[in-house]
């Protein structure tokens, strides 16, 4: 903390200086706290399952601590005025996510499955890659406004990334959703997670230029501002794109995420409520339209409307029905208010995707309502810091980019948590940082890196004082 005090003599009053504290030490303290909580979670799991402190505790703690330390030092060096909360919150979520992934690795029931593999070491590796990307973003992206130059390039990049899974030979269809690509020797990645960031850059750059046309050129009709047809173009294109994703990749979550992010950014750029109304109507129409003829989406909707029926059908061995929605609800239910304790729940009964899409159910069962609320609050705090960054940013591009990235983050949390809890149909997305999944962890670390870069620029003390009002004329009072 640095506070500039006014050097003044005893007899003059001290005027508080506008010292913007860098708050790096606060961040360090919170980071240490976060790593300790994660280590506690890890030890707790070991004690509950095996009755002893896990042997990997030291290496796990050191690994996470090392990642956090590297992240902190890089922030200290390259973004000294950045927000002090984002890094600790992301580290804590990543850390307890790792602990719970490891906890699911220890489950006997999951170990008997043919698809079982030790996910925790890979997840630790993914986190390391994520932090590496975070470092790269902070070191090489000196100013987020550089991204503005790549507005259309990032659009093309996003579209290519989104289309990659459809390329025959490259894309793989896993459990009904075609959102992965297979890179020989490296495993599979989900390009959609990275497309999220590229699209946010494109939207921010595009809307910054076009927002006046979108905001002002409109007719008023029944209290709504109706935009002109030519201004509707981009929103229709994005809508069509997200519907296409939905149809060809049957990925409800990603298409909702992209469209929602665009509508949020459009609203922030233009302050027109009509865009939100249009957005909601269009996404509803699109979703209903696709759901009426796409069988994969239909299944999801069925499982959402009547999970018990789906469960019974799948117990009877009818193909194409899922038992997971009901199992997740049971997990939340048996957790109650305070949960069963880490390592003592039965959420591993959710056989498939227990440590990725459904990891929130494990938290729900083992930490209860209290724990899930705390975790959702942490996500909320990350989003709040992102929005706060957008408010503080001095340039419109940074504002829009920060709001887009934090909006996408919030939407992703909503879509996943809502899906697992049965509020909306389940989609194949992963909880940022918590869930097992390389692309998700890596992309979200990059996202946090960009937000930290913007917040560093936003919170940096103003370089030059504003032009003095002394130059302005004083108005004369005329009686």
């Amino acid at each position: 903390m640095s506070s500039t005090s006014n050097p003044s003599t005893q007899h003059t009053s001290t005027i508080g200086a506008i010292g913007t504290p860098s708050r790096r030490n606060t961040e360090l303290a919170l980071l240490v706290f976060a790593v300790l909580i994660a280590v506690f979670a890890y030890a707790n799991v070991g004690l509950a399952i095996n009755g002893s402190v896990p042997s990997g505790l030291l290496s796990y703690g050191l690994g996470l601590g090392l990642l956090a330390g590297v992240g902190h030092l890089v922030v200290r060096k390259f973004a000294p005025y950045a927000d002090p909360l984002m890094l600790p919150l992301a580290t804590l979520l990543n850390g307890i996510g790792l602990a719970v992934v490891w906890r699911l690795d220890q489950s006997q029931r999951l170990q008997e499955k043919s698809t079982f593999f030790e996910a925790a070491p890979r997840q630790l590796l993914n986190s390391a890659l994520g932090v590496a990307l975070f470092v790269i973003v902070l070191v090489f992206l000196k100013d987020h406004r550089v991204l503005q130059r790549y507005t259309y390039i990032s659009m093309v990049a996003a579209v290519i990334l989104l289309l990659l899974p459809l390329v025959p030979g490259l894309g793989v269809n896993v459990f009904g959703a075609r959102i992965w690509i297979k890179i020989p020797g490296l495993g599979t990645i989900q390009p959609g997670e990275f497309a999220k960031i590229a699209l946010a850059v494109f939207f921010a750059g595009y809307l910054m230029v076009k927002r006046d046309a979108l905001a002002l050129a409109s007719r008023r009709f029944m209290g709504l501002y109706l935009p002109r047809g030519r201004d509707l173009g981009p929103i229709v294109v994005i809508w069509a794109l997200s519907i296409l994703i939905l149809v060809f990749e049957t990925d409800l979550g990603t298409s909702l995420l992209f469209f929602g992010m665009f509508v949020i950014m459009l609203y922030v750029a233009t302050e027109r409520t009509s865009w939100i109304v249009f957005g909601l109507l269009m996404s509803a129409a699109g979703a209903v339209g696709v759901a009426s003829f796409e069988s994969h989406v239909q299944q999801r909707v069925q499982a959402w409307l009547d999970p018990m029926h789906e469960y019974e059908l799948s117990q009877q061995g009818v193909i194409g029905h899922t038992e997971q929605s009901m199992q997740a609800l049971w997990a939340f239910g048996s957790g109650g208010t305070l949960g069963t304790g880490l390592g003592q729940g039965d959420s591993d009964l959710i056989g498939f995707a227990a440590n990725s899409d459904f990891i929130l159910a494990t938290f729900g069962e083992e930490l209860g309502l209290a724990g899930v609320m705390a975790i959702l609050l942490m996500y909320g705090l990350i989003v709040e810091r992102g929005v706060r960054t957008a408010l503080a940013a001095r340039d419109p591009f940074g504002k829009l980019l920060a709001i887009g990235l934090s909006g996408a983050f919030a939407l992703q949390v909503f879509v996943v948590a809502g899906g697992v809890m049965g509020l909306i149909p389940l989609t194949g997305m992963t909880m940022p940082f918590l869930a097992y999944g390389g692309s998700s962890v890596i992309a979200n670390w990059a996202l946090i890196g960009i937000l930290i870069r913007i917040s560093d620029t936003a919170r940096r003390p103003a370089p030059a004082p504003a032009p003095s009002p002394d130059a302005e004329m004083t108005q004369v009072v005329r009686p």
Binding site: S3, S8, H11, T14, A17, T26, L338, Q344, L367, M378
Partner: protein, 175 residues
């Protein structure tokens, strides 16, 4: 592991998780942009302007908040100890009177920066004369400085509680 240990750990973990959230929220609270009032000198005096700051001068004005500096000591009984802004954007701002000259105006280096179209850059100043009597003087402003209802033409002593009007701002001296 005994049941008790596990229960303690379970509740302990939730408590720690929430503690983190609460600490994070506290960081946000203390991380609000704006100024920190430097406390110097006697504590009793230093607290007052801080309270005024909380009562809601708008953020960009908050930098104008002044903290009381210690010292003084040779003040007479009945002499004003602070200057209070009672009307205008800066309402609630107080400046401790410590024998220093207080300048008012739109200029950035004024003691009280008036964000007011009707104020001049260097509008007026308030200073103590040799007897410790506080004097207000108009510095040739466009719209004039008013003490009560009369426009100032010469440096005039300021009685306690008399309103000094500059543009939309009214200030007064208080004990």
């Amino acid at each position: 592991m005994s049941e008790l240990t596990l229960t303690v750990m379970r509740l302990g973990f939730l408590a720690v998780l929430w503690l983190f959230v609460i600490v994070a929220v506290q960081v946000i609270r203390s991380d609000l942009f704006g100024t920190r009032v430097t406390q110097r000198g006697s504590r009793r005096e230093a607290q007052r302007p801080q309270q005024a700051a909380r009562q809601g001068a708008p953020p960009q004005q908050r930098q104008q908040q002044t903290a009381a500096a210690g010292g003084g000591g040779r003040q007479r009984r009945g002499a004003p100890t602070k200057l209070v802004v009672s009307e205008g954007i800066l309402t609630g701002t107080t400046v401790a009177l410590q024998g220093q000259t207080i300048t008012l105006g739109r200029a950035h280096d004024s003691t009280i920066v008036l964000d007011d179209d009707y104020a001049s850059s260097r509008h007026a100043r308030i200073y103590p004369d040799r007897d410790g009597q506080w004097i207000v003087e108009d510095l040739g402003s466009t719209n004039g400085t008013y003490l009560d209802r009369t426009r100032l033409t010469t440096p005039t002593p300021v009685p306690l509680g008399a309103p000094i009007r500059i543009g939309k701002t009214v200030i007064e001296l208080r004990k």
